[in-house]
């Protein structure tokens, strides 16, 4: 189980203090598939980044399974926890352009010091799972947007994380490929993983088990 209690987050830019999250309370069960919606600039990405340990919060409490995540979590610790427990999918894919699909998928395991052979073996299996078993050697620029995002999902899954966090994963895709990608997410969900998808499309949100609405820096529903 994941729980956030009274999470606050400020940004300071150009000497202006922006209060983005104003006491977010939230809990997500293991194996749940939820979506987060909210208007642009409402703090969806900020929330997701805090959940994913890419960013720290200013105030409140965050419990990730058995681990209490303190506000001042060290970078090294965060990197370790990310690598072990969390998989990311971004709107802009964030694949390394000079690595093939297979190598992109295998990369997180490199930071777990798992050997190349084992890495590539697992990466191949995951590319199979997302329907790209034939494109392992392709470079990112040889893949369509939907294919890139499926590679990114395979990469998010390779460390067998507790949860997958996706920030507008279909934001850059057309409706046909959006369906492909959502199908993959649902497939992954069926294997028991927790999935959190930030989106602004109701179609997407409706395909999840629960909708979390962010408004005025708080969870409205």
């Amino acid at each position: 189980m994941i729980s956030l209690e009274g999470i606050h987050k400020h940004y300071t830019s150009d000497s202006r203090r922006l209060h983005v999250l104003k006491g977010v309370n939230l809990s997500i069960d293991d194996g749940e598939m939820v979506s987060i919606m909210g208007s642009s600039g409402s703090g969806k990405s900020t929330l997701l980044n805090i959940l994913g340990l890419l960013d720290t919060y200013d105030q409140g409490a965050y419990q990730l399974g058995d681990t209490a995540i303190s506000a001042g979590l060290s970078e090294v610790k965060a990197a370790q926890l990310r690598n072990r427990f969390i998989g990311f999918v971004f709107q802009s894919f964030n694949l390394l352009p000079f690595k093939s699909a297979l190598e992109n998928v295998a990369l997180p395991l490199y930071y777990q010091k798992i050997g190349r052979k084992a890495r590539n073996y697992r990466a191949e299996k995951l590319l199979d799972l997302v329907g790209l078993g034939e494109r392992t050697k392709n470079m990112p620029n040889e893949l369509s947007g939907g294919q890139k995002q499926r590679v990114a999902i395979a990469r998010a899954l390779i460390t067998d994380p507790r949860m997958v966090l996706a920030d507008e994963p279909t934001g850059a895709l057309d409706s046909a490929t959006t369906d492909d990608v959502m199908a993959v997410f649902k497939e992954v969900h069926r294997t028991g993983k927790t999935i959190v998808i930030v989106t602004h499309e109701h179609d997407i949100a409706e395909q999840t088990e629960r909708l979390i609405l962010l408004k005025d820096g708080q969870v409205e529903r």
């Binding site: 890419l54 990310r82 690598n83 964030n94 694949l95 997180p108 190349r116």
Partner: protein, 419 residues
């Protein structure tokens, strides 16, 4: 470094070829040029050293000419002739003298009227009578065949000669050992006992023939006159002070005005050597200067490329961090990349430049290619390696600072950068 990490580094370098190439080229060029310039400098130095004659470097040569001032009732324009007795006199007068020897040329130093023949072959070469101890001064002559003239040759007035390599080549052709053969000097038959090479005057001193002075005088009807006297002082003796005292003494013996500067001529090898050495020390310094400039340019270039490339990679670094790379791993990766590139490029630069110098030396030996005042360019490998290490360290440090910064910015921030 594990094989896997090395593969990862190699992979990144290979996939980002332009960046890799630019870094590599900076290092390569810096090392390549530095080694080449230092090699050329050494080649010039060697070339100059080779063009010095084989005479002992501290030797002074005294010869005579016409007087330019009247003295004690004697007119000016009088021909002064040094005598064999001057040699013994000076030897007794000056304990500072280590070696002293006489030399007398055949003819009036023009060799056009001297005919050297062997069978059908003939040529014109200088012929010199060489007094006792003469070859102690021609210490650095290189004997290809046979031996030097010695005291017995002189004592017995043997009709033997040593000839320079150019003489032997003309009369006997290349690679032929002429020892024991008789040649004729203006019709007088003499036997060859040695063939020498003398680098003096850029090898033209190898166009000479030497004969024991006693036999020379008898054979060619010479009296006690000699052309020049060579003096080598003991170690630590001031050449200039000694030469002034010797000249003073000789002027007195030959009734020359103390103010007459033309009747006796002095050639001080030590002084000449020093002047030439100074000139080439200047050139050497200049080459160092240019070489270090190249190295500095390389250093600046590498630093820039490292800084730019790390900036370029901010997004990549952000992605890697999001996927679980720790800051230390990021720095380690970038550092390994720059070290690998600079080391390999520097090594290639080192090998190619040293190879090029080697090729020149090989061509000199095999094909006989020769440049004037340039010989056997080589480089102190220690200097080259130090230069390489400097470049590698600079590359590493230049990469370290920006990669350290990049590793510290948050992954979200970094991923926001345009790729």
């Amino acid at each position: 470094m594990s094989l896997d990490a090395l593969q990862e580094v190699w992979f990144t370098l290979n996939q980002n070829r332009l960046r890799t190439f630019l870094t590599a080229f900076g290092v390569f060029w810096g090392i390549f040029m530095l080694v080449l310039l230092l090699g050329v400098g050494q080649g010039l130095k060697n070339g100059i050293e080779q063009s010095f004659s084989s005479d002992v470097r501290t030797s002074m040569w005294i010869s005579s000419n016409k007087t330019s001032l009247p003295y004690r009732g004697l007119p000016q324009g009088r021909h002064i002739k040094l005598q064999e007795s001057d040699v013994d006199f000076l030897k007794n007068q000056f304990t500072e003298i280590n070696i002293i020897a006489a030399e007398e040329p055949l003819g009036s130093n023009f060799r056009a009227d001297i005919y050297i023949t062997y069978g059908q072959q003939s040529g014109s070469f200088s012929v010199l009578g060489a007094g006792a101890n003469y070859f102690k001064i021609k210490k650095n002559q290189n004997y290809h065949y046979g031996r030097r003239l010695n005291d017995f040759d002189e004592a017995d007035a043997r009709k033997v000669v040593v000839v320079g390599t150019k003489v032997a080549e003309r009369l006997f052709g290349n690679e032929y050992n002429p020892i024991g053969h008789q040649i004729a000097i203006n019709g007088v038959s003499v036997k060859i006992v040695g063939v020498f090479y003398d680098s003096g005057w850029e090898g033209r001193m190898s166009e000479r023939i030497y004969m024991p002075l006693a036999a020379f005088q008898k054979t060619f009807g010479k009296g006690q006159n000699i052309g020049s006297i060579a003096v080598v002082p003991h170690n630590g003796v001031d050449n200039i002070a000694l030469s002034e005292r010797i000249l003073g003494m000789l002027k007195e013996r030959h009734k020359i005005s103390p103010q007459d500067n033309t009747a006796l001529r002095l050639f001080d090898l030590a002084k000449e050597t020093e002047e030439i050495n100074n000139t080439f020390a200047g050139i050497g310094l200049f080459l160092w200067f240019v070489g270090l400039g190249t190295l500095m340019a390389g250093i600046v270039g590498i630093s820039n490329i490292m800084i730019i490339s790390v900036k370029e990679r901010t997004r990549e670094i952000g992605i890697r961090k999001a996927l679980g790379a720790r800051p230390r791993q990021i720095i380690y990766t970038i550092l390994s990349e720059s070290l690998l590139v600079t080391l390999i490029a520097g090594y290639v630069g080192l090998v190619l430049s040293v190879g090029l110098l080697g090729l020149y030396n090989w061509m000199t030996n095999e094909i006989g290619l020769e440049l004037p005042y340039f010989s056997h360019p080589e480089v102190d490998i220690h200097i080259a390696i130090v230069a390489l290490l400097v470049l590698v360290c600079v590359g590493a440090v230049a990469g370290l600072v920006p990669s350290w910064q990049a590793a510290r910015i948050s992954p979200i921030e970094a991923m926001r950068e345009e790729a």
